[in-house]
């Protein structure tokens, strides 16, 4: 057991990791944020099993990790996912698999359960199959809902993830209701941020404004309250005055990009990035990137953990630029 080291005299800095393990995908979501999908950058190298294992063990040897979300692309395309997760089991880091659900069969759930996976995030962009399938670039609603049913039957915790474009944002309250019918306790609401394939499709699917999103969240909040659920806003929504009375079930969020940030993205090429929407990296986790990360986290610890009294906007949405930098 190596990760839960609260007794350390000099505790390791803590991060939360979003690991884009697989670049490939069996769908083509119109809002997909993967930065290379707009054609402006080459597809990142897809690292082999042993390289991935070495990188994760090196990283987990020097930081505490509150959670690793295995994402992509579609992470279930990797047949070595279980081997990779098993190889870091001695660090006792909770693993979350973030998937479109189309490959999450009962057999795969059992296999992942065998290496300790108990949490899934499954894409669900509407209560209606045709809307979800249109945004996902392929028929996947039934598979996604079935995956959630099977994972729940296996005793796993499942959180649906909704990406809000102008085409489907009005479906969010009904989607929360669908999740309630499945007995789920949380739903993630991510507003569409136009990067990657989303840049190409932004006019077709639409980028909602804060003003358009607020009434949707308020209506969904009422559904969530009725079913004792929580709504996690994964991307900031700027609310006038910072709060809305009665928004009891929804958790506002801030852009996590800053010096000393806790949430980091690891690419399939094993480079570390501040923001999953941007291709800018600070270097490889095997050398310069890890040094930079540790230096920054140590500095942040000395200065104290940043504390925000209001929601900081997504830098991409507020600036219209894909580049993310921290000075």
């Amino acid at each position: 057991m190596q990760a839960c080291g609260s007794a350390d005299s000099h505790p390791r800095p803590e991060i939360e990791l979003w690991f884009e393990l697989e670049t490939g995908c069996n769908l083509a979501c119109r809002f997909c944020y993967n930065f290379w999908k707009d054609g402006s950058a080459p597809v990142p190298l897809r690292s082999a099993t042993q390289s991935v294992v070495s990188a994760l063990r090196k990283l987990l040897g020097v930081v505490r990790c509150s959670q690793i979300a295995f994402s992509g692309g579609e992470p279930l395309l990797r047949q070595d996912l279980e081997e990779i997760i098993a190889s870091i089991s001695d660090y006792d880091v909770p693993a979350v698999v973030t998937t479109n659900g189309s490959l999450l069969t009962a057999d795969r759930i059992r296999s992942l359960m065998g290496v300790g996976v108990r949490r899934y995030q499954v894409a669900l962009h509407s209560h209606l199959a045709e809307t979800h399938d249109m945004l996902s670039g392929g028929a996947s609603w039934k598979a996604a809902v079935k995956a959630m049913v099977l994972a729940r039957e296996a005793g796993a915790t499942v959180t649906p993830v909704f990406v809000a474009t102008r085409l489907n944002m009005g479906h969010f309250p009904e989607t929360v209701l669908l999740a309630a019918r499945l007995g789920m306790k949380r739903v993630v609401f991510n507003r569409f941020v136009p990067t990657g394939l989303g840049i190409r499709n932004r006019k077709e699917i639409g980028v909602p404004t804060d003003e358009e999103l607020i009434p949707v969240v308020v209506e969904a909040n009422a559904v969530a309250r009725q079913h004792s659920m929580r709504i996690e806003l994964g991307v900031p929504i700027a609310i006038p005055g910072g709060s809305i009375e009665g928004l009891t079930q929804s958790e506002l969020t801030s852009c996590p990009v800053e010096r000393g940030q806790r949430r980091w993205t690891l690419g399939s090429d094993l480079t570390l990035r501040r923001c999953n929407q941007s291709g800018n990296n600070i270097g490889s986790v095997m050398d310069d990137g890890l040094r930079e990360l540790l230096s920054e986290l140590e500095g942040a610890r000395d200065r104290g953990v940043p504390h925000h009294t209001s929601v900081r906007n997504c830098q991409i949405l507020s600036s219209g630029l894909v580049a993310i930098s921290v000075h």
Partner: protein, 62 residues
């Protein structure tokens, strides 16, 4: 919701998906579909959600 379901056993995953689809598309109550979902919910009601304990692990030995 026209599927015939076995009242003695929990509905299959496919039956639950069909019921949820029916409920999502219907403007009026669909008691058959609701019954399928209710029986499924009862069958998984006692399933432990173990991830919270794992997610909250900050001390050695857990």
């Amino acid at each position: 919701m026209s599927q015939v379901t076995n009242q003695l056993h929990p509905p299959s995953a496919d039956e639950v998906v069909a019921a949820l689809s029916s409920l999502a598309q219907s403007d009026s109550p669909d008691s058959t579909a609701q019954s399928v979902v209710d029986r499924w919910r009862e069958s998984v009601a006692d399933m432990p959600e173990v991830s919270k304990a794992i997610a909250n692990c900050h001390t050695p030995g857990h």
